[in-house]
Amino acid sequence: MATTSTIRWLALGVALALGSPAVQAQPAPIKIGELNSYARQAAFTVPYRDGWQLALDEINAKGGVLGRKLEIISREDGATTGDATRVADELVSREGVSLLFGSFLSNVGVAMADFANQKKIVYIAAEPLTDAITMGQGNRYTFRIRPNNTMQVGMLVDQAKASGAKRWAIVAPNYEYGQSAAAAFKRLIQERIPGAEIVAEQYPALGKIEAGPTVSALEQAKPDGIFNVLFGPDLTQFVREGNTRGLFEKATVLSLLTGEPEWLLPLKDEVPEGWTVTGYPWDQITEPKHKAFVDAYRAKYNDTPRLGSLLGYMVVYMIRDTIERAGSTDTEALIKALEDAKFDTVVGPVTMRGIDNQSSMGAWVGKLALKGAAGGMTDWAYKDGTSFMPTEGEVKAVRKD
């Protein structure tokens, strides 16, 4: 008995061993490395993963790129700089990926940029928003898709001029992203609104806000304008506490990212109406290409898209275009194909500026409003990023390459 079954197993093994080369007869796939904070920043990154998965499936269904399939090897980056570079090292030296993309937190993005420079591999920072990635810490291997802090804050400050608010308070998470956004705000508000002053600043640790004391400390300064950079659980607590204590009633509020569904949905019916925000009114965008994306996404996942979904979807298509134009996966060829390249994306044409590797993707700016049981955006407009980018002189002054 035992012998028969052993022979059967052996036969199965031989069949499998002989069978697999037949499958591999087609060319090996192009491997791309991806890393993100899927555990700690799940609200953004899980829809983002769904987005890139959708694009990947579409591309491979049409035969891939350069006659080869695309394969994305995805890893958890632990939301810390050390873990992220460690995982990136594993992707590069064990998996042999051709380029890296991903990461959510800005500090992780900066560490990844440093890693890319050290290991001479292309890294596409899809989400991290700090200016440093394309400015002070920028290098020729690091590219960014989303509009950076200076660009998004610039769009908001333009809206603030009309309100006439002069006494501004800042509340921002105390890490790279919050610090960079606060610095950009201070710089731009002084340039563009004469007589504006900063009367209060609060920097709670990321994910550890004490909402009550923070709100009353801001209230104490009696600001007529508030600039908010909080997101995630910090934001929900801040908004609820601020609503209760009437912090927002007499003030103009500018808020980064709050119009994005990932941060707006958890607020439910407590959406602070009238805030001027950057966000993503996905249900009101009528361009046919975007509509097709939304329909495909909803059909596949039975869920509404977040901004992360859009970004993940866009990035993978941009990577496909890049590899196709480069004609190979060689790092130098990829860099050449990326610099000053034009991409036709779901949100319209996007250019990757060569001097700082910052794309011209824009953002939707509008006001928050309560629609039924949840929040949404009104009076919104898509602002192309080109006119908000740092000038060439500013870039050259801080970049070391």
Binding site: A205, E210, E241
Partner: protein, 615 residues
């Protein structure tokens, strides 16, 4: 400053004090009776918040108004109480007699398991609970608006204190709890049903944790990081108040609540550090907190390396090991070399801890402090002084030794669980400093660009450097363990009184042990910083300390080679398994629990035990 503002700020402080007390009170009662420092208490709090945030909106649909809200809160707390009972029956019951280290680790295993399970059950998104019906509108206090729910919370703290006091003073269960807190063995000898008593206590503790979490839902969204943030604060409250003392916890919570509320005005960027600083100051002045009392420590809890006859032919074994290490680059690719380098670094880290725990019997729960100091010392030298790797590594080591000297000076006055908590506090203070002193340490961003010198960069040279340094340090530590100094430490571990009686200066020996161990851990930290090219605050975090302890435990605490083997096995497994599954924490947590329950001797210890039994 405006008096109305001060009043409102003080009220905010009172309401956080109340919430903190309700949670910490459960922790302190559980500790009083079972003597277990329950890391999983924060997880119970988190489960309470998640359960309430999911359950209460459903109940509110029945439109009974406030009744269903409060019923939902109580129901959630009851559910958490039952989960507490399950944890007691399945796990804690089996480890009451185990050394503190094993208990701490086992409950930390539960923390890891719960983190993954909560995300699986409740989903990755944060859940914002509903507001309490009837308490939506704010009240005016001196012309300022204040959330009325916070007033309810302020009242809830004293109410819970009163109820717990009644329970402890007026019921038979309470009498037994107090008796067990005073003398557990005596209660057992008097024929009290201990199983029932302990299960009941765990139910009460978990219920309070769940209640604390559930009461938070109108002000805080339930999210996956709440467990560790609350447990750190709850530890501070129980330790400052005196472990096992309910009124002490109340007083400590009041102090901490006010400290946080006003600390944000004075140091808006250093909110985390003040709390742990308070704990360090209190323990330095009163080693048992406000109302705690000295623990009876004896040889019973001491575990550590035992004396063995030296293996025959150990010189040859050593030579074989050196040859194997030297030959490894010939067969391994770049990535394997990277893994091997990290294993060597962790082996050194775990081995330095062995000197404290295995030899000295000093259960340090904050060994990451020295690892992190070494890493930061090296990275700061590179960042601020442009130091080369050759200068930065010794500087990191020196900073770690200096830190160990300072921390050790406070720690060696303590014993048992207070000692473990003091080391934890020290590590958390350093973590907070690294995290919030943004101008110097880069905060959450850490420091990047810490790459080795030209001659040592590349996988092979850096591996060789690490291997050489690790080998030399381990042999040196090994020599120290076998020297009279090591035997003096062991004597103090096994019987403090007798060691003192024969004229050993225990505190000075232990202090020295701290410095040596800290310096070795600092060297490991510096090597680690250069191998990764960056440092970040997580190197100083609780999970780094737990890593070292797990390696020690996995390898076997009674043997000298245990931590080296443990580091290799754990890091190799992590490297292999982590890319395959998103349930790494679940796997790790279950493994830790299994190790504590099934292999308390560790890998090397078990093998040696078999050999000895056969002999």
């Amino acid at each position: 400053m405006d008096p109305s503002f001060l009043a409102v700020q003080a009220l905010s402080g009172l309401s956080s004090a109340s919430s903190l007390f309700i949670t910490a009170c459960g922790l302190t009662i559980v500790f009083g009776v079972t003597r277990i420092v329950n890391f999983a208490h924060g997880s119970l709090y988190m489960i309470g918040a998640y359960t309430a945030a999911t359950l209460v909106p459903r109940l509110l649909e029945f439109s009974f108004g406030p009744t269903s809200f409060w019923a939902g809160i109580l129901l959630s707390a009851l559910i958490v109480g039952i989960i507490g009972v399950i944890i007691e029956v399945l796990l804690l019951r089996r480890i009451y007699g185990a050394p503190e280290l094993f208990q701490l680790l086992a409950t930390f295993g539960v923390v890891l398991v719960v983190q993954d399970l909560v995300i699986q059950i409740f989903g990755p998104e944060d859940i914002l609970g509903p507001r309490a019906p009837g308490l939506r509108a704010p009240v005016e206090i001196l012309g300022r608006r204040f959330p009325s729910y916070e007033l309810v919370l302020i009242a809830a703290g004293p109410v819970v204190l009163g109820l717990v006091w009644l329970l402890l003073r007026r019921t038979r269960f309470g009498v037994l709890v107090r008796a067990a807190t005073q003398d557990r063995d005596m209660v057992a000898s008097l024929g009290v049903n201990q199983a029932m008593l302990f299960t009941g206590t765990l139910f009460l503790g978990a219920f309070l944790a769940g209640l604390g979490g559930a009461l938070q839902i109108p002000r805080v969204s339930a999210h996956a990081g709440m467990d560790l943030s609350i447990i750190a604060e709850a530890f501070v409250v129980t330790v400052v108040g005196g472990m096992g003392s309910v009124p002490g916890a109340f007083l400590a919570a009041l102090v901490i609540g006010q400290l946080q509320a006003f600390g944000i005005l004075i140091f808006p960027k250093s909110t985390l550090v003040v709390v742990f600083l308070l704990m360090a100051v209190v323990l330095a002045i009163r080693p048992y907190g406000f109302f705690g009392r000295a623990e009876i420590v004896g040889g019973t809890h001491a575990i550590g390396i035992a004396s063995h006859k030296p293996l025959p032919g150990r010189t040859y074994i050593l030579l074989v090991v050196i040859a194997a290490l030297a030959a490894f680059p010939l067969v391994a690719d770049a990535y394997l070399l990277k893994v091997a380098t990290e294993i060597l670094i962790f082996a050194l880290f775990a081995f330095s801890l062995q000197l404290l725990i295995g030899v000295g019997g000093l259960v340090s729960f904050g060994h990451a402090a020295f690892f992190g100091l070494g890493a930061y010392g090296a990275a700061l030298a590179v960042k601020w002084y442009g130091a080369s790797m050759e200068t930065a590594l010794p500087l990191g080591l020196a900073l770690a030794a200096l830190g160990a000297m300072l921390i050790g000076a406070f720690v060696v006055r303590l014993s048992g669980i207070y000692l473990a908590m003091m080391t934890l506090a020290a590590a958390q203070i350093l973590y907070a400093v690294a995290f919030q002193w943004v101008d110097v340490t880069g905060g959450d961003n850490g420091i990047v660009g810490v790459w080795p010198s030209q001659w040592a960069s590349g996988p092979v040279p850096y591996y060789a450097l690490t291997a050489a340094l690790t080998l030399v340090t381990v042999l040196l530590l090994r020599r120290i363990i076998d020297a009279p100094f090591g035997y003096a430490l062991r004597a103090a571990r096994d019987s403090e009184a007798r060691a003192e009686a024969i004229g050993l200066r225990i505190r000075r020996h232990r202090w020295l042990a701290f410095m040596i161990s800290g310096a070795a851990a600092g060297l490991a930290g510096g090597l680690y910083a250069f191998s990764r090219g960056s440092v970040d605050p997580s190197l100083l975090g609780i999970s780094t300390s737990v890593d070292a302890l797990t390696m020690l435990l996995l390898g076997g605490i009674q043997t000298v080679t245990g931590p080296l083997i443990g580091a290799g096995v754990l890091h190799f497994l992590r490297d292999q398994i982590m890319p395959l599954t998103s349930y790494w924490r679940l796997v790790l947590g279950l493994s830790i629990i299994a190790m504590v329950l099934l292999f308390p001797r560790g890998l090397v210890g078990t093998i040696r035990h078999w050999q000895e039994q056969r002999a």
